[in-house]
Symmetry: C2
Subunit: 473 residues, 2 copies
Amino acid sequence: MPKIKPSIPKGTRDFSPQTVAKRNYILQVIRGTFERYGFMPIETPAIEKLSTLTGKYGDEGDQLLFKILNSGDFLAKVKDDQWSARNSPEVAGAISEKGLRYDLTVPFARYVVMHRNDIAFPFRRYQIQPVWRADKPQKGRYREFYQCDADIIGSDSLLNEVELVGIMRDVFYQLSLHPSIHLNNRKLLQGITEFLGFEKSYNAFLTILDKTDKIGTEAVCTQLKDLAQDDAQKDKIDQFFKMIGGFGSDSALINGKPGMLIRKLSQLKSMLKDSPQGQEGIREIETIYDHLNLIDPEFRMYMYFDPTLARGLTYYTGSIFEVKLDLPGINIGSVCGGGRYDDLTGIFGLEGMSGVGISFGLDRIFDVLDEMNLFLDTSVSSSKALFVNFDEDSEKYALLGLQQVRQAGINAEIYPSAQKLNKQMKYADTKGIPFVVMAGSEEIKANKFTLKHMKTGEQQQLSLGELLKELRK
Amino acid sequence: MPKIKPSIPKGTRDFSPQTVAKRNYILQVIRGTFERYGFMPIETPAIEKLSTLTGKYGDEGDQLLFKILNSGDFLAKVKDDQWSARNSPEVAGAISEKGLRYDLTVPFARYVVMHRNDIAFPFRRYQIQPVWRADKPQKGRYREFYQCDADIIGSDSLLNEVELVGIMRDVFYQLSLHPSIHLNNRKLLQGITEFLGFEKSYNAFLTILDKTDKIGTEAVCTQLKDLAQDDAQKDKIDQFFKMIGGFGSDSALINGKPGMLIRKLSQLKSMLKDSPQGQEGIREIETIYDHLNLIDPEFRMYMYFDPTLARGLTYYTGSIFEVKLDLPGINIGSVCGGGRYDDLTGIFGLEGMSGVGISFGLDRIFDVLDEMNLFLDTSVSSSKALFVNFDEDSEKYALLGLQQVRQAGINAEIYPSAQKLNKQMKYADTKGIPFVVMAGSEEIKANKFTLKHMKTGEQQQLSLGELLKELRK
């Protein structure tokens, strides 16, 4: 067989022990917080039927699904007319029935419908698993990446939104990051759409509006006017943006004063007085703020009402969230997002299941922590001690000590052969092992071990009991 | 869109919170043990290039690879003559360049070659990730399942084998299972093959021999005689099986007496006196036993020398392991296996890297523990307490208590709306939440909480401080 220079598919990654440790640190914070809020983990297969996945993520999403070739003589299922047409999408339908998980939301909906009789509703589930998208790989965007989702399904109480805000706050605070949690509401957006007269170009309108925090109020205003049909509509656009003012660009930290919030909400309320949907959206936002006000007097430090936030996904019907990090010089976009959906499971035959969920982006959070050097003294779960291997006698003696050290619950290892001491020390150094234990003929005679602290170079001769005590510290 | 009744691909599974908790319990034992022995985790992508995977698992393995359809107009790469031949394997080569990870060993070899300059050798890595095989699904065999691998690469010291034996022992002991660790050696098998004259039908010979523990010595003897060319060869087969006697069927626990082991090894030594390979294999087994004897006087309780153990994988060149569980009425096969390979990375251009590794089968271990009811009081990481929601006032009061409980690190939740008490209690019961906290107008007035123990029905009125104390217990 010819030797091949190995590589991995573009958009995928290998993770070294150091990186795995850092990722696990983030995952532990997220997992721990989910559990403190009463969420329980489920897992779904990486492989789903294409009938489950297709049509759930829009046309673009369908393009980005990784499809799995049927096993065996897969061409046998291709019909003669498909064969002669030689058209990729047609043939794909005939030779592929399964695909890779594209997100965790659709598999969650499928899970709820399939297992509804075993679930205690409202169902608080979390799920931390990789997903795959045949996206164009670029900096910070991968074809295989983790999502960390928490959803509550089977309850339309806005208290669930409040709980999710608590989770987002707690996760980022624990990671020493200051979150800016942007809140908006699809019903409010519906009201604004009606007020501005964009009902017929709803999607185009939302897409432009959603760019406010990237390109600024003025540019958005111009683009919306291009979309407008007449001058009356253009006037309303001016009126709206004058009213929301600096909403889109100011951080909660600086301008999120309650007085301002109440004023803006009351202005919106009168502006949208003819829209029951808009009124309902405002009421929902007020309810969430009332609860936050009750349980966390500091909520103004991170909550941020943003009437220009729209989010792409079409299945949201109420609250929408997006978390940003205001970090000088680091442009990272959204690190967490989510929202309420009234009918996620309807497509699978279970109606009337309202739910709300959020999803953390592990990779972006990782990049921020890495860039800001915010990873704690990463416990790379490596050995705490390396036993040096001098010769056959020392190996036997060391093995007995090693045995005891491990039984005490301390991670430790022995160098597997009697290589030069230099080489063994270098190994400990490269692996970041903090202590080296040496036992030559002298130590064996005295029934001791020499413990060397790699950082300071300090050495001590210790009995086994003392050694265990030192290593336990 | 038509409503579809959802299902998942055959051979795949959904895992409920209860099952995830049980699986995590096993994984934590395995992970913790790997780390105590100084192994560090890596992760590789689920998707590998087919050039990395193909040809590494034999013809059968190639058939079982899940292939991923190229994105976009994948038919454009199919040549006209391939298309008109309408041959599935040919076309597959043109429309698919990536596949799903089939095991963790080949990706590990690829990883070592690609990252050799960043690795401290000998490299002790562990890897716990799912793999995919387009196998015929049946009881206990899935198309998506986890492997838990530990390997040491870059050292030919037999001390590494001894370390792996320690890991296998520790993992199963911690799970309250008694392992039977079968040990054999490919070099010894080579010697036996030479002695019996099966050099030319090596693979067929090993396949039959490996069945000894399933179909028994006699049946294997008969099948080998069918494979034999002449009477001299048949005599040697008789001689060999007479010598190894009950080897294949007796458990280490009962018959693994050291005297017997030494006698059998010395008989093999004289039988294979003309085979340097066979002698080397025996020497290696003796060395491993010598070390075990030194560090664990109890090793005869679980170690089992089995000269009929062969294992399918062709890349093994020295020691081979297989762990069985002697459980009355439970026929589960091997729950862990592995061996030494001298040239795993050679195919990717890095020669002379000897390594040895083992792999635990999570699903089989799960099935055994489940069947024997050996899962500990599964800490289904659910909430410890549910705060009941009576009305708006009680909700507000409960939210403040809930906040404190969570800040104390206790997992807790509040029912999101003021449903009937019955319904809320049933929810706590179904979810297995051990405590319910109630606060109606009476408690609010007294600034107390009523804590109900779900199992006993016992109720106490407590201050917040007392509540925290109770829940921390």
